[in-house]
Structure formats: structure tokens, C-alpha cells
């Protein structure tokens, strides 16, 4: 640094030397570690200086000014003043160099960010964006490795990219993702206070969350940077993550437009499957006034109801809800409904318990593979018996209101079909005398939301059934559909709404 200053300001140092020589000094020079860097007049080695004054940098002596042939207080003060001035100029020179270096880095980074934006525009998928992001981030931060992860909010496969590939095991990378997700800010290693498990191969790391549409949906990390990660690196990685955030948002918008068109076709098909498969006519059962209806949501769920009527066989009905939405829910609903229907139709002595146990056995493995279950209610009525036998596999809400009593919520007697390998369903019996009322609905009723985000809830449903109890099955069903619809205040239904209303009648 001092040598640079001496060469760039040679003329000014010569002027200083000339002034000293004119005042009677025999020599003037700048020495470092007792070796001369420069001196006047040529040939004088200044072996015995009469006065010296230190040149400092950051409070440390780095060199000294020397003169020979003059002495006294005035000369000492003058040499000291010269040395202080040179020290100050040296400091300014140093600061200027740092600022220039910072400016150059900042320009490089701006250019790199611009290139990043440009290169990201060429990518049309999120995985491509993540790959470009990691490569650029590693390059820009001069790190050895990087990774990025994305967890969508619509159930698509979570994405993880690493550069170089397999730098750390996937589960370790995901662990860092969830840690950053929970911390909601950048995570830096080494950090003695952090409870993040230290990944192998990692000497230092900077992981930043990427906010997309107001929540953390992605993360980017860079590891093993020589010298670790300081404030400029954090700022830079934040800037890169902001770029990534904007790009991911653009991409999601594009994907959503595409998906919406696909979804509409799928939902139309699912709705057709669902409505076409529901019974179109209500059976006539002596001793019962019954009604059933189903209103699919825009995003069709897996609701169904079914009647099984045969000569010399008891009347059976079923109502159920398969978890999930869309075409997959519609297909699984068809499967469930058919399994129950065939058992009720062909078993020698079908009872709700037997139908349910057998259906659970048939469907358990398939349901486990695809990760769904179906809540199902099966009821059986022998004309003239005034008794209804039922089995309930995890279904709710089911409300029974005897003609002379209070309404009660019937609890399921086993878990839904597909949860446990063996069903623990038992036949239960209800009176079905004239006026006794049973309402089996799906959670599309109780879960209906209004504009204040309140749900209709089971309690309101019980009160409503009680109020409507004197009406016919058809009137009760229609009033219930209308009431929840009014409660929803014109919002799109979140879920299908299906119900079977059965009321004892004089036979």
C-alpha cells in the first residue's frame, strides 16, 4: 500500500524532500523494516538519521520518515507533522480502494442478478427455475455447493435440487428446509445457538426461506464458502431469493391457468359420473317416507347414496363419503358404492354389519395403497317391523329424532372403511315408528362456511332437524339444503352435500 502511494505521489514526496534539503538536511527518506524504500539525494543511505517519525496505518507503525543533518524541536515537529499527514493520506487511499472494490463487486452482482432474471425467463417449469437458481447462487457467492427446495400448496410432488447432485442426503436437505420454514428467516451455520443438526460435509451454510404469495413455499441454501457467510453474502442471497420468489409466482400463475382448464374438464366428468350413478328414482317402501338428494360441489367430492331393493329381500340403503376431490374421488366412490351394493344384493342374509365388514375387507388394501378412506352408513328396514337396523363406519353427522323425544347425534360404531384391517361394526337398532325421523347427511352440511368463516356446525344441524321434524322427508331435505345454502351466502360449496332422510310412516 505504502509503495503504491510512493510511486503514485512520487513528485509530492520529492517536493517534501527538496524542502528538507533546502532547510539544511543532508538527506530525507522513507524506511520500512529498517530498509529504505526511497531517499534523497541519490547515494545517501541515511544510515544515521538525526530524526525519525513513524508512519502509521490502523494505529500500527508500518514505516518511518527519516532525515539526517538537522536537529532540534522545530525539525522534530515538522517531521512528525509530515509523517501524520502521510499516514492520513494512506488511510484515505486505503478507504478509496475498499470502496472501489465494493463498487466493482456490487456492479458484478447487479450484472449477475440481471443475468439470473434473463436466464430464468427461459425456464418454464419450477424445477428448471430451481436448477438455474442454485447454479447461479453457487457461482455468485463463490460457494462449493447449493440446494433449493419447493413444496407446493396444491399437492404436487415436493421438489429438491442440489448442485453438485447428491452433495448431501435428501432427508438432510429436507430437514434444513423444514427448519428454515419454521424459523421464518435465514439460517446460518456455524451457529452455536442453533438447534439444527449439523449436516455432514458442511463447514458453513446459509439457507434463506423464499416467500411465495405470502407464505414460505421454497428455500435456497449455499454451503461451504471459503471464509463463511457475512452480511454482503446474506444480502446477495436475499436478493437472489427475491428474484426466485417473483419467478416462482409467475410460473405458478401460468401453471394455474393451464390447470384450471384441465380441472374444469375433469370436474365436469367427475360431476357426470357422480350424478349419473346416483339412483334417479326413490323406491317405495311400505312404512317409510324417504327422500335422498346430492348436490356436488364445484370441486366434486366423493359423496354417494344408494338404495338396494329386491323381491323378498329387506330394503337396504347406504350413504357415504370418500375422501378426496375430483375424478379420483368419483372413481373411488363408484368402487365403494359397488362393493356395498353387490354385497347387499347378493349376500344370503345381508345385515348392515355383515355388508360393512365384508366391504372393509374388500377395500382395505386398495384404500391403503392410495391413502383414502370412506365413511359409510348402511341401514336396513324390514317392512312392518317399525325397526331400522344400521351400522355406521365413521360417518357423521347422523341425527335421530324420535317422534316423542329430543334429537340425538348418533356416534359411529367403528372407524371408516379402509382405516383398520378389520371392521368392528355392529348392528344397531332404532325405532322407526310413524313420525320417528333419521337424517343421514355428509359433512358438506356441517362444514359449510359463511362469509365470516364460521362453519354451520353439527349443533345448528341438530336444531334444524328438530325444527323440521313435523314435515315430510322431501320437505325436510329441501329445507336443509336451502338453509345451508343461505348460510353459505352464495359462496361456492367447499364439499358435496348429500343426505338421506327417512321417516316412519303409517304402512
Amino acid at each position: 500500500m505504502l509503495v503504491t502511494l510512493l510511486s503514485s505521489q512520487y513528485a509530492r514526496f520529492t517536493a517534501l524532500a527538496d524542502a528538507w534539503l533546502a532547510q539544511g538536511a543532508s538527506a530525507f527518506g522513507v524506511f520500512q523494516d529498517s530498509r529504505p524504500l526511497i531517499y534523497w539525494p541519490a547515494g545517501h543511505r541515511l544510515a544515521r538519521p538525526s530524526i525519525t517519525a513513524p508512519i502509521t496505518h490502523n494505529d500500527e507503525e508500518i514505516a518511518d520518515l527519516r532525515v539526517a543533518g538537522v536537529s532540534g524541536m522545530a525539525a522534530e515537529m515538522r517531521l512528525k507533522a509530515d509523517a501524520t499527514l502521510i499516514s492520513y493520506v494512506l488511510q484515505l487511499e486505503n478507504e478509496l480502494q475498499c470502496m472501489t472494490a465494493d463498487l466493482a463487486t456490487s456492479q458484478d452482482q447487479q450484472l449477475a442478478l440481471y443475468r439470473l432474471t434473463q436466464s430464468m425467463r427461459d425456464h418454464v417449469t419450477i424445477i428448471e427455475t430451481l436448477q438455474a437458481l442454485v447454479i447461479e447462487a453457487v457461482r455468485m457467492t463463490k460457494s462449493h455447493a447449493g440446494f433449493a427446495a419447493f413444496v407446493s400448496s396444491d399437492g404436487q410432488e415436493p421438489l429438491l435440487v442440489q448442485s453438485p447432485d447428491g452433495f448431501m442426503p435428501d432427508d438432510v436437505a429436507w430437514h434444513i428446509y423444514w427448519h428454515t420454514h419454521t424459523a421464518e428467516r435465514e439460517v446460518i451455520l456455524p451457529d452455536p445457538a442453533s438447534d439444527l443438526l449439523y449436516p455432514e460435509n458442511v463447514e458453513n451454510m446459509l439457507a434463506v426461506p423464499i416467500w411465495v404469495r405470502g407464505s414460505i413455499m421454497a428455500m435456497m441454501g449455499v454451503t461451504n464458502r471459503p471464509g463463511g457467510f457475512g452480511t454482503p453474502n446474506i444480502k446477495l442471497v436475499r436478493a437472489i431469493s427475491d428474484q426466485a420468489s417473483a419467478q416462482i409466482e409467475r410460473m405458478l400463475l401460468y401453471q394455474e391457468m393451464f390447470d384450471q382448464a384441465r380441472l374444469k374438464t375433469e370436474m365436469d366428468l367427475a360431476r357426470r359420473v357422480q350424478l349419473d350413478l346416483m339412483p334417479h328414482q326413490l323406491p317405495t317402501v311400505p312404512g317409510l317416507d324417504l327422500y335422498a338428494s346430492s348436490r356436488p360441489a364445484l370441486q366434486v367430492g366423493g359423496d354417494f347414496f344408494d338404495f338396494i331393493v329386491g323381491d323378498d329381500r329387506p330394503f337396504l340403503f347406504s350413504l357415504g363419503d370418500v375422501t378426496g376431490k375430483g375424478l379420483s374421488a368419483a372413481l373411488l366412490m363408484t368402487m365403494t358404492r359397488s362393493a356395498i351394493h353387490s354385497k347387499a344384493q347378493f349376500m344370503p342374509y345381508p345385515t348392515p354389519e355383515a355388508v360393512m365388514r365384508q366391504s372393509n375387507e374388500d377395500l382395505y388394501h386398495d384404500f391403503t395403497r392410495v391413502g383414502v378412506f370412506a365413511t359409510v352408513f348402511v341401514g336396513q328396514y324390514e317392512p312392518g317391523s317399525q325397526k331400522l337396523i344400521y351400522a355406521n363406519a365413521g360417518h357423521s353427522p347422523v341425527i335421530y329424532r324420535p317422534f316423542d323425544g329430543e334429537p340425538e347425534l348418533l356416534r359411529a360404531d367403528s372407524t371408516a372403511i379402509g382405516i383398520l384391517p378389520v371392521s368392528s361394526c355392529r348392528n344397531q337398532t332404532l325405532n322407526m315408528r310413524p313420525g320417528d325421523l333419521l337424517v343421514v347427511a355428509t359433512d358438506g352440511f356441517s362444514d359449510t362456511r359463511n362469509s365470516r368463516d364460521e362453519t354451520f356446525d353439527i349443533e345448528r344441524l341438530i336444531v334444524l332437524v328438530d325444527q323440521l321434524a313435523s314435515q315430510t322427508a322431501c320437505e325436510i331435505a329441501n329445507a336443509m339444503l336451502e338453509t345451508v345454502s343461505r348460510f353459505g351466502g352464495g359462496r361456492n360449496q367447499d364439499d358435496d352435500q348429500t343426505l338421506v332422510v327417512i321417516k316412519g310412516a303409517a304402512s
Binding site: 413444496v151 407446493s152 400448496s153 396444491d154 399437492g155 404436487q156 415436493p158 432427508d171 429436507w174 423444514w178 427448519h179 420454514h181 419454521t182 438447534d195 443438526l197 413455499m217 370441486q299 363419503d321 375422501t323 378426496g324 376431490k325 391403503t368 391413502g371 383414502v372 378412506f373 365413511t375 365413521g394 360417518h395 357423521s396 353427522p397 347425534l409 356416534r411 359411529a412 360404531d413 367403528s414 372407524t415 371408516a416 382405516i419 383398520l420 368392528s424 359433512d443 362444514d447 362453519t455 356446525d457 353439527i458 367447499d494 364439499d495
Partner: protein
């Protein structure tokens, strides 16, 4: 919905705040799938701040429970609010899940 994850000992803990339903299931499902991928997973889902669960959310928990059992591990739930507990009770999911009053009891059960 907000989710927070942490590890206590070898138990992966998930806290879910707000509505846990079809619209908010995906990140929870992704996390559960990842933590149940290694043998002997121990997972605790803390529903203390969960205000609502729908059938898709329940299906996600059931799927994770089955995966845990397949991998010789276990999944428990704890700190259910009254309306959420009622859903578990009405649909008899209380038969399938080990439900605990708080995290402390749940973690103790893993250690026994």
C-alpha cells in the same frame, strides 16, 4: 393454516395452527411423507391451535399413521380442542389414533 416442525429427542413434532383442510393439507402431507420414510419413525402431531379439520386432513393423518406402522414406528396426536376432538370421537378415529392430552404425555408414551 400455519405449520411448525421441530425435533425433540427422536420425535418429529408438527404443530398445526388454524384450519387444517383440503386447501392447507399439501405441505403437511409432504412433511409427513418425508419423516415417515425412515425406519421406526416417531411422529407427534400437536393440534392445540387447530381450529378445524376436514375429511381430507383426517385422511392425511390416517395415511401417515399407516405409513408409520408399516415402518415399525408410531404416530400420536395431542392437545385436541373440543370441536376437533368431537370429530375424532364421532367418526371413531379415537380407535385408530393414540390421543394424548399434551405433548409431555405423548412423548412419555413413545419412551415406554
Amino acid at each position: 393454516m400455519e405449520m411448525k416442525t421441530r425435533i425433540t429427542g427422536d420425535v418429529n413434532i408438527l404443530e398445526i395452527a388454524g384450519r387444517f383442510d383440503t386447501n392447507t393439507v399439501p405441505p403437511v402431507s409432504a412433511w409427513l411423507e418425508q419423516v415417515t420414510a425412515t425406519p421406526g419413525p416417531r411422529v407427534l402431531v400437536n393440534l392445540a391451535d387447530t381450529t378445524f379439520v376436514d375429511s381430507t386432513a383426517l385422511a392425511t393423518l390416517v395415511q401417515a399413521l399407516k405409513r408409520c406402522h408399516q415402518m415399525q414406528g408410531d404416530l400420536c396426536v395431542c392437545s385436541l380442542r373440543r370441536p376437533v376432538y368431537m370429530i375424532f370421537e364421532l367418526t371413531r378415529l379415537d380407535k385408530a389414533f393414540n390421543i394424548f392430552v399434551d405433548e409431555e404425555h405423548a412423548i412419555q408414551s413413545f419412551n415406554n
